[in-house]
């Protein structure tokens, strides 16, 4: 079954704390993504990963970093979280280039207080 799994689903953190969002996929997709979704702004690309240790900044990378040590696993890290990073974060994966279908996880709702 093709699946992208995100953990945790809900997270509340205080400003200045570190945050780790995890994403896994069981499709052996090379390409994985992190997006954030805010009302009226659609989905904004934070980082894209083309394979293990092959990561590239998206449109809004500031304040975020990523780690991909295994093809099936992609992490998003917020060092010293800020209140404006409160958002819903979606991980996605695709086979090869973006002309192929993106498979999204269910999202992580992060609140930074």
């Amino acid at each position: 079954d093709m699946k992208v799994t995100q953990m945790p689903r809900y997270l509340i953190k205080r400003m200045g704390e570190n945050v780790l969002l995890e994403c896994g996929q069981d499709m052996s997709h090379e390409t994985m993504y992190w997006y954030r979704q805010d009302p009226g702004l659609g989905l904004q690309l934070i980082y894209i990963s083309y394979d293990v240790d092959s990561n590239s900044e998206g449109d809004i990378p500031k304040g975020y970093r990523v780690s991909r040590k295994k093809r099936e696993h992609f992490s998003l890290i917020l060092d010293s979280a800020k209140t404006n990073q409160t958002s819903v974060y979606f991980c996605a994966s695709s086979f090869g280039a973006s002309q192929n279908t993106l498979y999204f996880g269910a999202g992580t709702r992060l609140s930074v207080l």
Binding site: V4, T31, Y33, Y35, G40, L41, G42, L43, Q44, L45, I48, Y50, S56, G58, D59, F90, S94, G96, A97, S98, Q99, T101, L102, F104, G105, A106, G107
Partner: protein
């Protein structure tokens, strides 16, 4: 850079009526267009996609035609159902042959179907 514009933020309509959601785009490359649908508290899922000019693409009763001359990829359905209530995103990718991987999303259109 690339951009996608969805002019309607909110659309409310009655079950059984037709709907058209507008999507226009700007890119300097050959475009590949997508519609994704996101039901409440669920992940976005692909609805349909196209890179062929003037060819209608259909899926689950929805259809869209890519018109490169007008840079548009409007989503239509002839008769909406209550289950079509969702957030709809238009998205653009560059068909450069490379691996840029970047998909640019529009702001989304929230569709609410009432009985």
């Amino acid at each position: 850079g690339d951009s996608v514009t969805q002019t309607e933020g909110l659309v409310t309509l009655t079950k059984g009526l037709p709907v058209m959601l507008n999507c226009t785009y700007q890119t300097t490359y050959s475009p590949f267009l997508f519609w994704y649908v996101q039901h409440l508290n669920e992940a976005p899922k692909l609805l349909l996609k196209s890179s062929t000019d003037n060819k209608r693409t259909e899926h689950q009763g929805f259809y869209a035609t890519l018109h490169k001359s007008s840079s548009s990829f409007h989503l239509q359905k002839s008769s909406v159902q209550l289950s079509d209530s969702a957030l709809y995103f238009c998205a653009l990718s560059e068909e450069t042959g490379g691996l840029s991987g970047k998909l640019t999303f529009g702001e989304g259109t929230q569709v609410t179907v009432i009985s």
